[in-house]
């Protein structure tokens, strides 16, 4: 599904010096995997998320997504990939201000299919349990509800890859569990979930964990994933080889 090989990303700082945000990152993610990416701030998580999410291209190395080398794609081509194959979920929900839940879910269809399918949007809201909130505005919904709208929005173009950036960071425990439960369900459908988080409890839902430090992978761990609504059981960690 995902194949990064020797991906580097550096930014120019001033005239001649450059900052290496990512160095020599290589790993593979299979379809239907649930992967957590962790690491202290400044470790390169954002940069990696940008590249995985096709919002940026690597300075060197290759990124293959679903067998397609996207590492030299133009902005327009990357946008097409984002629209059709990647769903984003963020910590701060990021619903469009002044728009209803349904309109938020419809937004990706404007850029993806180019045709808004209202029934599909409503069906997805129904799926995340918000069929009665379709015409509510973002600020009329609770945090958990907003995040569920965001998940429905991420799913509307039926992408095989879901990128979740601290999806429970702004939620209480109960709402967090709801969200993680939905993510696990998406994984069982065959979608690949990549989760960026600081939170151990949240990370424990993932069967695999990549730890970043100073722009490089410092650990790649595999373990028995926690099951939804079973967060009390401490996960059993297995150290795997760095890939």
């Amino acid at each position: 599904m995902i194949e990064l090989s020797q991906v580097c990303k550096s930014y120019l700082r001033g005239e001649n010096s450059s900052v290496h945000a990512l160095r020599d990152i290589s790993f593979q993610v299979e379809a239907s995997e649930f992967l957590a990416i962790r690491g202290p701030s400044g470790s390169g998580k954002s940069t990696l998320l940008n590249i995985l999410g096709c919002l940026d291209v690597p300075t060197s190395g290759t990124y293959r997504l679903g067998g397609e080398d996207v590492s030299r794609y133009s902005d327009r081509e990357l946008s097409r990939v984002r629209a059709r194959r990647i769903g984003f979920i963020f910590q701060s929900f990021n619903l469009l201000p002044g728009t209803t839940a349904r309109e938020n879910v419809e937004l990706p269809m404007i850029y993806g299919a180019g045709r808004v399918d209202r029934k599909k949007a409503l069906a997805l809201l129904d799926r995340v349990g918000l069929n009665d909130r379709a015409s509510h505005f973002g600020n009329e919904l609770s945090g958990g509800q907003q995040q569920r709208v965001a998940i429905a929005r991420a799913l509307v173009n039926d992408p095989p890859l879901i990128l979740a950036d601290e999806p429970t960071g702004n939620l209480d425990t109960a709402a967090s569990e709801e969200i993680m439960c939905i993510l696990q369900e998406l994984q069982r459908e065959g979608r690949t979930i990549i989760l960026v988080t600081h939170d151990d409890a949240v990370a424990s839902y993932a069967a695999r964990e990549i730890v970043l430090r100073d722009g490089a992978i410092s650990a790649d761990l595999r373990r028995q994933a926690n099951l939804a609504n079973d967060a009390s059981v401490p996960p059993e960690m297995n150290h795997a080889d760095r890939s």
Binding site: L55, S79, S92, L96, L107, I110, N157, D165
Partner: protein, 407 residues
């Protein structure tokens, strides 16, 4: 991209930021409305001054010759001109300058006492040749004008301007009645059609016309003229004719080569061009001001849009993540700028139409709405929207989505 869905979102965003949207439109509204009003009024003023000018000068294939060097201010009369233009000069011009078709002569005096029974008036008396009416483009409204024979016979006949008619004969016909100009009795043969106001705004109807021979021999006892109207066969050759007449008159008046002309010639075409030129210089300046207002409006649009972009970084990030390319984002913001500037343009034109109507009514000017100005306004609105929308739109397209969404 589905434009309709986008437009709904854009309008809702504009509705949410009503004040900002209004401020963004304001510059365009002011610029466009001023441009349209100024242009319409400029056009109306030009037409009006052309009309008044025509009122004063009559037809356009004529040259006017006045006695005296330099410019005599105001309307000339027997009391304020040198006695340099004689009847003989007129004969010479007619016989020796082939480009001249005919010449009308004028000998006039202001503030002449006129009496009819117990009514008295003080008015201008113009002694004119019988072709005067034709060369001035005037008409007789009632009765008839005098003939060449009347002139030759020193007939004491008079034609009244409408002001004099109204003053001496209120509510009755004057034809056939006898008035006294000075102490000389004149029989009224006709009444002129009203000509309204001259360029200075004064009435052109407060006068009496009598045959010039009668005037010079019976009334004024003068053998010089106050004005000649020379009609040309070919107005496009007026420069050559002016030269020929100048040479002839200088020769007849025995002027040394170094001496100034003792007469003044004006070519109505040139004066006309000057008046029109003056009008268009004025409206060009005002248009410049209006365009400046538009530019300021554009800068306001740009500044407020830049603020908008930094406030909407999150929205931009979301759109980018769900598949908007940089081009899509740029188009969105340019479309918003265009919508605002074009709405401003529409409001501006609407205000201008209202304003033009009001001013035209107050100033009693004919309303002249120039449709080409509307086209220019539309073009300018679009141009301002695109021109000042591009940079903020570019900024918007280069917002880092993840950074914006993590903030």
């Amino acid at each position: 991209m589905q434009i309709a869905a986008e437009a709904v979102l854009a309008f809702r965003s504009m509705a949410r930021h009503r004040l900002r949207t209004f401020l963004m439109m304001l510059g365009v509204i002011i610029g466009i409305s001023f441009l349209t009003v100024l242009n319409s009024l400029g056009e109306a003023t030009k037409q009006e001054s052309m009309k008044r000018f025509k009122n004063m000068l009559g037809t356009f294939d004529t040259i006017i010759i006045r006695p005296g060097a330099g410019r005599t201010r105001g309307m000339v009369s027997l009391t304020n001109v040198p006695a340099t233009l004689k009847f003989d000069d007129v004969q010479a011009i007619i016989s020796e300058v082939p480009g001249v078709k005919q010449v009308a002569e004028l000998q006039n005096a202001f503030d002449m006492d006129v009496k009819y029974r117990d009514k008295a008036a003080s008015t201008a008396v113009f002694g004119v040749s019988s072709n005067w009416l034709e060369l001035r483009g005037d008409e007789v409204a009632e009765g008839s004008f005098f003939s060449v024979d009347d002139d030759k016979a020193l007939a004491r006949v008079a034609i009244l301007g409408t002001d004099v008619q109204a003053h001496l004969f209120p509510g009755e016909s004057s034809i056939g009645k006898t008035i006294r100009i000075g102490d000389v009795p004149f029989q009224i043969e006709g009444v002129l059609k009203s000509r309204g106001a001259g360029p200075g705004g004064g009435s052109l109807d407060d006068l009496i016309l009598i045959p010039i021979s009668t005037a010079s021999k019976r009334l004024f006892n003068r053998d010089f003229l106050t004005m000649l109207i020379v009609q040309l066969r070919d107005p496009s050759r007026s420069d050559a004719d002016v030269h020929a007449i100048t040479t002839l008159l200088r020769e007849r008046h025995h002027l040394a080569p170094s001496a100034l002309d003792d007469f003044t010639m004006s070519n109505p075409r040139a004066v006309m061009a000057q008046v029109t030129q003056m009008g268009s210089t004025l409206s060009k300046t005002l248009e410049g001001v209006a365009i400046l207002a538009m530019l300021i409006g554009g800068v306001v649009i740009m500044a407020l849009m830049l603020i908008g972009v930094s406030e909407r970084r999150r929205e931009i990030g979301i759109r980018r993540c769900v598949g908007a390319s940089r081009v899509d984002i740029m188009l969105q913001f340019i479309l918003e700028a265009l919508t605002i500037s074009c709405l401003g343009g529409v409001i501006g034109v609407a205000l201008a139409l209202a304003g033009t109507n009001v001013v035209a009514r107050l100033q009693k000017l004919p309303l002249a709405l120039a449709w080409d100005v509307l086209a220019i306004s539309a073009g300018l609105s679009l141009a301002v929207g695109v021109l000042f929308g591009i940079y903020p739109a570019w900024k918007a397209a280069h917002v880092d989505p993840i950074a914006a969404l993590r903030a």
